[in-house]
Amino acid sequence: MTYRQIFVAGLWQQNTGLVVLLGLCPLLAVSGTVVNAIGLGLATTLTLVFSNLAVSLARRVLRPEIRIPAYVLIIASVVTVIQLLMQAWFHDLYRVLGIFIPLIVTNCAIIGRAEAFASRNAPLPSVIDGLATGLGFCLALVALGALREVIGRGTLLSQAGLMFGELGESLQLTLIPDYSGFLLAMLPPGAFIGLGLLIAGRNWLDARLSGQRERDATTSEPTLDIKTAA
């Protein structure tokens, strides 16, 4: 696999949130606003990059029978480091994301990438894979967060100050002024419905794109006339 293929797979074809459907618990729970989504998405991406790197470096030492406990140790260490760093430098955001930072440990997407990719590949491709998978997850989170925030509150990037400091306060967009809010979108059912819509949208787009590619490939050769096909 080329780096490009690894990247496209993580971001689109094998997107954790929308295709493989791993790590749904944080995806559904923290996607109430865009800022929360970016925060958890980036923390998960960092975790994936470093856990993949560590697993890949240690892959020759870790015999099959101890690999799972070793992965758990590695992932838990990486997540705890990220948690401490967030507490020190992004304390307000940490307080909002709360329990979901330590719970990154239990996101099966991470142990999944360690097992399926990092344990069989060199460090650099593993890092790329972690980055792509993480960004794919982040993308799904942000898309769902944006959907829910716009429908639920009529804003985008509210509370951006939690992540970007003073500068972030001015980032908030009020798309629908005097919006009374649509509670369903903020509650758990809204997360499920939104995720369903996103998956459907991705599948539709994917089908269109692959249909396009097939048509492009077939136009060069003499094809069945549409009229005869009809």
Binding site: I66, A70, L73, I74, T80, L85, W89, H91, L183
Partner: protein, 211 residues
């Protein structure tokens, strides 16, 4: 057998590497995290008692438990504000336990004469859009507590309107404000009965914890 030992050593090495990494990062971040936590609490306390004291609020505090007034064996923290050694006010941090969904953690600022200086909700899991109007960011409801005391309104008026009291409830959410009103009333009753202890500089904490 040899394979088993090698596996054990490999796993041990991973554990040692992880532990050393964590120890290092903890060492580097511990001071900053403590400072951040103090900043957050000071900001919260500052909303209730701005200025008007000259002692270190975070250091002049006691923790205690009291079953009927603060249910479920919770630990209550009292931050004492003094001006030139004279008690001015204190802030109690405690939980209202009868909310719709889990504990509602609140701060209640009480003047030395027993009147309420203000109440703020600092964390809760109530329903967004319904019960979360107790947050000062969402509505002015919490401001209604300012200036209230056990004699104002009368004890039987210390309830939400649906229960015949004086405090507003929200459309579609009575349980949340009822829980907060009850908890604040109980805290005031505790204050009235234990004022000396709460301001006592020599009072021993039940046990000390980080803020």
């Amino acid at each position: 057998m040899k394979g088993m030992i090698r596996s054990a050593i490999a796993l041990g090495l991973v554990a040692i590497a992880g532990t050393s990494l964590l120890t290092g990062v903890d060492f580097l971040t511990a001071d900053r995290i403590t400072a951040q936590e103090r900043r957050v609490i000071l900001e919260q306390l500052g909303q209730i008692i701005p200025g008007q004291y000259d002692n270190q609020l975070l250091d002049d505090r006691i923790t205690f438990r009291d079953e009927p007034h603060f249910p479920n064996g919770q630990e209550v923290i009292a931050y004492r504000a003094r001006l030139q050694g004279e008690p001015r006010a204190l802030v109690l941090k405690f939980n209202a336990v009868n909310g719709y969904n889990g504990n509602i953690t609140l701060l209640a600022g009480i003047n030395s004469d027993g009147s309420l200086r203000g109440v703020r909700i600092i964390s809760h899991k109530e329903t967004p859009g319904l019960g979360d109007a107790i947050e000062i960011e969402k509505s002015d409801w919490a401001l209604d507590f300012s200036g209230k005391s056990l004699s104002n309104p009368e004890p039987d008026q210390w309830a939400v309107k649906r229960d015949g009291g004086e405090f507003d409830q929200f459309t579609g959410a009575t349980i949340t404000p009822r829980a907060v009103v009850d908890a604040v009333r109980l805290a005031l009753e505790y204050f009235q009965a234990n004022r000396e202890y709460l301001f006592d500089t020599t009072a021993e904490s039940a046990e000390s914890t980080s803020p």
